[in-house]
Each structure stands twice: as C-alpha cells, then as structure tokens.
Symmetry: C2
C-alpha cells in the first residue's frame, strides 16, 4: 500500500534543545564529524487506495493543521514514498 | 553546509501508541484517507566539511548506536540531503 511521508522539523530560528543535547553527547564521546544536530518528526501515512491529488492535498492539510505546530515547526516535505 | 539525514522509525512489528493516537484523531475528525499512521524521528546532522566515506560511516554508526534504540526502532535511512 502506498505511503505518504510527512517530514516536520523545528523552525531553524528556534533552539532545538533535544538536538543540542545529542550534539553535546557527540562532543563528549569524541564524535567530531557533525557540527549541529536538529531533531524533527517523520510521519508515515498509509493510504488504502490510490494516491490521488485529493489524497495528497488532504495529507498537506493535516500536515499543516494536525501533525505540526506552525508556531515552532515547519512542514518540510509531503511526499509519496516509492 | 551538507546535511546528513537519518530516519528512524518504530519497528513495524511493534505498536506505535503515538501513531495510533493520531490515527484515532483522524477518524474522529472525518479524515478517512489514511488507514494507518506511524511516527518516527528525523535527524539532520550538519557536516562542516565534505561528506567523505568516513563521515558517512560515522553517521551510520551513531545512527545505530546513539540516535536509535535497536530494541524498538529501525534506522531506515542515512542519506546526504541534496
């Protein structure tokens, strides 16, 4: 069955305490390859039938209205997984 | 600066209570297009220099050992974002 993937990330102008914590853990454990870490969410929406334009529009709507908080997060992707 | 994206999802054989809650909210609010919802994490690791094979290998290692819990989660992707 097709899956629509919605990616949500904290807005880039906001601090991301979770990401900062992981970044700090990297520094303490000798992982130096990554200068920053940000942590967001990945939603997999299973579609029963075909992914029509209407279904994709509905996914975009719920991504903005239900799955993310527009005050602190951006929806960075709504895509049909191959 | 290049970014490596790590996607982590709950193992498919496990219940995902967060996803079930969203799925229930969809049902209650008349969103019928999606039969299942699963919620995972998306990590963006910023790389200061070039993404060499060593950096990518390090990303794969921390994805398995630090960013995910192998008991309940699968790392489903470690990719350089375009």
């Amino acid at each position: 069955m097709p899956t629509i993937v919605v990616d949500v990330m904290p807005k880039s102008e906001l601090l991301d305490p979770q990401g900062k914590a992981v970044s700090g853990a990297f520094a303490r454990t000798g992982v130096t390859a990554f200068s920053d870490v940000r942590i967001g969410k990945r939603f997999e929406l299973t579609v029963d039938g075909e992914v029509t334009d209407a279904v994709l529009a509905e996914a975009r709507r719920v991504a903005e209205e239900v799955l993310s908080n527009a005050v602190i997060e951006d929806v960075i992707g709504v895509e049909v997984a191959e």
